[in-house]
């Protein structure tokens, strides 16, 4: 792995991309894409549909040729050392790339042998991975009978047969229910603990927040912001606390008390009996709210902390809407859309 000396620090990067360009006709899927991922870290690539996340992953995995720019993966040039790159990476694409008819173990043994393991070694490795991902009991069942989360875990297991230096996860939780999503998150953390560098694409801020050491926000084929989740959230502002009061006549009083306590302006909506407060990130806003309400003998029907949504991230970073709608068919993002609609401030 190359050591890159910058004026300030020396860091080992598993992944360096600079100025990657890729066009399909008039569409610039990658338009000056730059990325640096420190070895052993989890890096989130956050962006809406059509931002170019998958194209970036395909290019770094040597599945597609780039028009211009350069990149190294595990210190190897993607253009001149494609095969060596493929020896050091694992790819978990958007579709669970598994054979449905075969069992979980058969899938892993097949991929293991293709990775160059002898049959006996491939079987041993398959059993090990099945155990690691909690799939031993389902090992013989055809993959078509697996739940979404199980398929994803097997998919990830298949990409770990040779313990890759860099693992690419392209929207690994899309289409999973919350339980499946948690299973995948746990697996990703385990992988990073073992020293593999992870590049994860996602449309969901909270997913990047949960998993990533650093996040690159992507739009229109390039990275528009980069930082730790904390840094990004600081740029975005923390979020909002919404307090729905039982007694609609005391809204103004509550707004004044809460605004003073949190040092922010409170917005009142009479119709929904709600006071909305902008809060800084990582603060103790909720605690203060509870304390104030308690002290003033105000009863709340509901108190909610609203995190910034991806839409808001993009508005904050670009002052323009994302390249395409972030809404997809998963119930999760439908909730999110509803949530951001709810968030619209009422004058």
């Amino acid at each position: 792995m190359p050591t890159v000396h910058s004026p300030h620090q020396s860091l080992t990067y598993s992944l360096i991309a600079s100025g990657l360009q890729k066009s399909y006709g008039d569409t610039h899927a990658l338009d000056g894409f730059d990325l640096r991922v420190a070895a052993g870290s989890i890096h989130g690539l956050l962006g809406p549909n059509g931002a170019g996340k998958s194209t970036a992953v395909s290019a770094l995995c040597t599945l597609i040729d780039v028009d211009d720019g350069s990149a190294t993966v595990a210190g190897l040039d993607i253009r001149s050392s494609g095969k060596q790159v493929r020896e050091r990476i694992g790819l978990v694409g958007q579709a669970a790339a598994l054979d449905d008819i075969l069992g979980g173990r058969q899938n892993l043994v097949m991929f293991g042998r293709l990775f160059g393991l002898r049959s006996s070694a491939a079987r041993a490795r398959a059993d090990e991975l099945l155990h690691q991902f909690g799939l031993t009991d389902a090992a013989e069942r055809p993959v078509s009978t697996y739940s979404g989360g199980m398929r994803r875990r097997l998919d990830i297991a298949a990409s770990l047969i040779r313990t890759p230096a860099v693992l690419f996860l392209d929207e690994p939780t899309t289409g999973l229910d919350p339980r499946g999503r948690n299973e995948v998150w746990r697996a990703v953390r385990q992988i990073a603990e073992s020293g593999t560098t992870v590049l994860l694409t996602t449309q969901h801020l909270d997913e990047a927040d949960q998993l990533a050491d650093r996040i690159s926000v992507m739009n229109h084929g390039r990275v528009i912001a980069e930082g730790t989740p904390k840094q990004l959230k600081r740029r975005l502002g923390g979020g909002r606390i919404e307090v729905m009061l039982e007694d609609g006549t005391r809204l103004t009083e509550a707004a004044r008390l809460l605004g003073e306590a949190l040092g922010t302006t409170a917005v009142v909506d009479d119709y929904s009996r709600t006071v909305t407060l902008e809060v800084p990130p990582g603060g103790t806003g909720l605690m203060s709210v509870v304390r104030v309400l308690d002290g003033a003998a105000l009863t709340a029907d509901d108190i909610a902390l609203r995190r910034p949504t991806l839409d808001e991230v993009f508005l904050a970073l670009t002052d323009m809407p994302p390249a395409a709608s972030v809404a997809d068919s998963s119930p999760d993002s439908a909730d999110r859309t509803a949530e951001s609609a709810d968030n619209k401030e009422t004058p």
Binding site: S58, C61, T62, L63, I64, D65, K83, Q84, R86, E87, I89, G90, L91, G93, Q94, A95, A96, A97, L98, D99, D100, I101, L102, G103, Q106, M110, F111, R113, L114, F115, G116, L117, R118, A121, R125, E128, H131, Q132, P142, A158, S159, R162, T163, Q190, E193, S194, G195
Partner: protein, 272 residues
Amino acid sequence: MTTTQDVEPELRRSNALRESWIITQRDLLHWVRQPAGPIFNLLFSIMLLLMFGFLFGGAIEVPGGGDYISFLLPGMLTLAMLFGLESTMLAMTTDAAKGITNRFRSMPISSSAIVLGRSGADMASSVLGLAVLFGGGLLIGWQISGEVGAVVLAVFLLLWLRFALLWVGIFLGLRFRGAGATAAIQVLVWPVGFLSNLFVAPETMPGWLGAVAEWNPISATATAARELFGNPTGSMGGILADNAVLMAALWPLVITLVFLPLSARAYRKLRA
């Protein structure tokens, strides 16, 4: 969590033939784990055989005389080779849609292995299909009077046609990936199969139609197989009939020479 990062077992060097065989084995395992599909396909070809042999066969006269069942069998064997095209295309499109093709492509394996593995599996499936039709044919009175060498050559020519059509299927599967394209091919193989001499001698058709049927590449294989098995050819002669074996060797060669490079190109274009 258990990791085996430090235990990197001894690895074999990338070897296209070994990798192709592993990918072929995957399809063979499909037969074992889910035999319903292949069995249905085999039953379908037996059903067609019985339908033509007995339902229509009685009304069909072979020009130049001869038993219709013995005329029909080489045609049915050829049809099975043609239908194989669909399964090749379907397998290619399914793997592409599921991301399996991309997973293979992201692995350090020879790119030809992905296609050769498909070929191996499809050829194996075609050998099985031929064997079942052979058995079915013999049971309903198919007479083989050709010499052993000729019979072996006939089987070889049938598989040679299948090999050529493999590349058509791979090309179509790489190039047209939607489910609609596969459905279109499943419909289109029928006119290609029927506009031939597989079931009825072209002599009995209107002149222009007979010419189309005679020049249909798969007709060459059927005629050659009829000659080599010692079955009635239903043909009154002519340049194609007189050089049937040569034509059955040439047509698939032409198809392969056209579609193998096209497949390779379509495969490279996945990187575009």
